[in-house]
Symmetry: C2
Subunit: 143 residues, 2 copies
Amino acid sequence: MPNNPHQSPAAVEDAFYAAFARLDLILMSAIWIDGKQAVCIHPGGGLLRGKDAVLASWRDIFGGAQPPQVDHRLIATYESDDLAVRLVEERIRPRGSASEQASRVIATNVYVRRRDAWYLAEHHASLPMVEQKATPMEERKLH
Amino acid sequence: MPNNPHQSPAAVEDAFYAAFARLDLILMSAIWIDGKQAVCIHPGGGLLRGKDAVLASWRDIFGGAQPPQVDHRLIATYESDDLAVRLVEERIRPRGSASEQASRVIATNVYVRRRDAWYLAEHHASLPMVEQKATPMEERKLH
């Protein structure tokens, strides 16, 4: 993780997943934008709006959990001077799990710039899909 | 719907939902960005990448369907000169349905500007939640 997590959207993103993997609520708080602009949708969950509600949800998730193994991979990105969208594939695996299967989650992360610092404004995650080796990514059409 | 669906992110969005409500694949094709930048995640579904894959999914959805009633409401927006993110709540109801319940879907829509025209680049929708009157929005924490 970079020394200054606010230097770029990618650095904020690295810090976000580091905070998740370490169950670090202080780092998680540092990288979200303040106030009502913060929006989080956990997999299968409803809309959480405002930094207080968002951080409360992460506190619940972190409570009593063992630090998971969290990897993320960039799929697509759209960037401008003060706004960036990064579509990522997350792989989340409970640490020490006997199973080799990881949950795979597709997430859209939105970053905004305030002066010279970048912040996470929106995290929108889809339902996890259990990873199956050597199987192409499922493409369901359920809209 | 505006005469020129490309004049602003909001106008593209209106056209997107009009295309859905009218099962209009020609309009749907007109408002998506070309090539690999197009990304669509339907509720509960996997990642569709590239305009061809995205439009094929909408063709499947439209096939044999009755035009649904589709409303959308802006929840939050992040905008810059050539990139915009709009978080919306969709309400989708089969037309002529005896039930009064609509499916409520939270979606993140990403728009990019190419010269003087805006296009839809990403549509990321969550699982529908059945609407229940006079009940606060559920806020589950399942990450």
